[in-house]
């Protein structure tokens, strides 16, 4: 098995190395294909070359071969906490990286408060403003356990609605200080709404019609639905003021309203590449090191009092271009570039799902989109 694999690889290598099949671009074109040149006035060659025949005249095939992609694609996780993941995605086109970013922000579902039933609100904050503030509170509940409300034809059942209640009263005493209502006051009602419905049907006594308690869902036994943070300020109450309300959280996506976005934000940047084109020595090296606010450069001593600048951590470069300001001389010494297919991707989760699960969900959603179009076309 292993052997045949090798043989096939060899055969392919042999064909690719034949003189009539130039598989590589000349160095200068390769540079323009894979790097953005960040010049003093403006970045250059920012496009990615996508067209399969772009280099046909040179006899180089620019078409995408899946096995090629699989061979070159790499992921390296740099940092992973409960809230943030930072990873490098190497060997992918911006079209796809950007699709993942867009999906993370606008297409991955979460649960968020959609309806607020206010029984009493004598606080200073108006009903509608309070409702809006409630909507933006991130809810810690796995959206994969719920359905979209449209699926149930507007019926609010245990599969699509999470109900919370909030009831706070500030005692009416002289000298009573103001109290702060925080998101931790939202109490989960696993049996559904306790308010009476408007059109009272015989068996639907409340706003929701739960056929069973959400308590019984195994995932909730040790991790009940709750606001992700219990210290978000919702309102302040003076003596004698009271808020009593009930909220319904439903599943939705960020495209409809930003409150459903599962990420605080998701972004990527291309890997910076800083190259010294000439040796930069002694005072100039000192000057270069001091120019950079990000401490990208370092100075290397190589005996007999000679010093030379080196590039220590190009990853920290923000591309402020300070190092190439100060005349043509500097532009000739330092080249700033970005690697077109190396993305430093960061995802900050709001808490419903861990950040690594969010990315997996996002990729799955793009797959579903493809599948949908394929079935539509067949």
């Amino acid at each position: 098995m292993e052997d045949t694999k090798y043989k096939n690889g060899d055969a392919l290598d042999f064909i690719m190395n034949m003189s009539s099949v130039p598989s590589k671009l000349p160095e200068n074109l390769e540079l323009l294909r894979t790097r953005v040149l960040c010049n003093n006035d403006a970045p250059q060659h920012t496009d990615t070359i996508q067209y399969s025949g772009a280099y046909a005249a040179l006899g180089v095939d620019n078409s995408l071969r899946l096995d090629n992609f699989c061979k070159n694609f790499k992921v390296e996780v740099k940092k992973l906490t409960d809230e943030i993941i930072e990873f490098d995605m190497i060997g992918i086109d911006p079209a796809l990286a950007n699709a993942f970013r867009r999906i993370l922000i606008a297409d991955v579902p979460t649960m968020a408060i959609e309806r607020v039933y206010i029984a009493n609100n004598t606080s200073l904050i108006q009903d509608e403003v309070l409702a809006h503030r409630l909507g933006l509170v991130p809810i810690n509940a796995d959206p994969r356990l719920f359905e979209y409300p449209e699926n149930a034809g507007d019926e609010k059942n245990e599969k699509n609605t999470i109900v919370f209640k909030l009831h706070v009263r500030c005692p009416n005493k002289i000298g009573q200080p103001r109290i702060t209502v925080k998101s931790g006051e939202l109490k989960w009602l696993p049996n559904g709404s306790e308010l009476l419905g408007e059109n009272r049907k015989p068996n639907a006594g409340s706003q929701t019609s739960f056929s069973c308690s959400q308590d019984s869902i195994p995932q909730f036994s040790d991790n009940p639905p709750r606001p992700q943070y219990s210290d978000i300020i919702l309102a302040k109450l003076g003596a004698g003021q009271e808020i009593e309300l009930e909220v319904h959280a439903v599943k939705g996506i960020g495209k409809t309203h930003a409150k459903w976005s599962p990420v605080a934000t998701a972004w990527y940047r291309m890997l910076p590449e800083v190259v010294l084109l000439k040796d930069v020595e002694d005072e100039l090296a000192e000057e270069l090191k001091n120019k950079c606010p990000q401490n990208v450069f370092d100075i290397e001593d190589f005996g007999s009092g000679k010093r030379r600048a080196t590039v220590k951590n190009p990853r920290d470069c923000t591309l402020c271009r300070e190092c190439i300001r100060g005349g043509k001389d500097w532009e000739d010494r330092v080249a700033l570039r970005r690697v077109k297919d190396h993305f430093i991707f960061t995802i900050e989760s709001t808490g419903a799902l861990p950040p690594e699960a969010l990315f997996t969900e996002a990729v799955k959603i793009l797959e579903e989109k493809c599948e949908r179009v394929i079935t539509e076309l067949s």
């Binding site: 694609f73 993941i85 992918i92 699709a99 867009r102 797959e367």
Partner: protein, 113 residues
């Protein structure tokens, strides 16, 4: 929905509802890399209209099939991205757990000695 001619199936415009740049730009990327495609592009006729038009012209194959292949390709790429990512994350977690237990172990050693 497909808009094209019956006599020449190699050129068509596909009008997809409920899609946007996310999907259209990705599929434009995969189609651009397909040697059978001579032209591919997309447009969103109106921002408040929830649809995108994808134009595909090929060297002769039916545009519909080529577009389907493009979607298929995109899907396979996604699957590869997902498996690579999952593997990278689990590797990272194992590594993190290891360094943690190594730390704890050395602590234990200190205690026992």
């Amino acid at each position: 929905m497909e808009h094209g001619s019956f006599s020449d199936q190699s050129k068509s415009t596909f009008s997809l509802v409920d899609e946007d740049h996310t999907f259209a730009n990705s599929v434009r990327f995969t189609l651009n890399q397909d040697p059978r495609v001579t032209f591919v592009g997309y447009s969103i006729p109106h921002p408040s209209d929830n649809r995108v038009n994808i134009r595909v012209q090929t060297t002769g194959d039916p545009a519909r099939e080529v577009l389907k292949d493009g979607c298929q390709e995109l899907m396979l790429m996604c699957q590869h991205v997902r498996s690579t990512f999952d593997k990278a994350v689990s590797d990272f977690k194992i590594k993190a757990a290891k360094t943690k237990t190594v730390d704890e172990d050395s602590d234990d050693d200190m205690d026992s000695e």
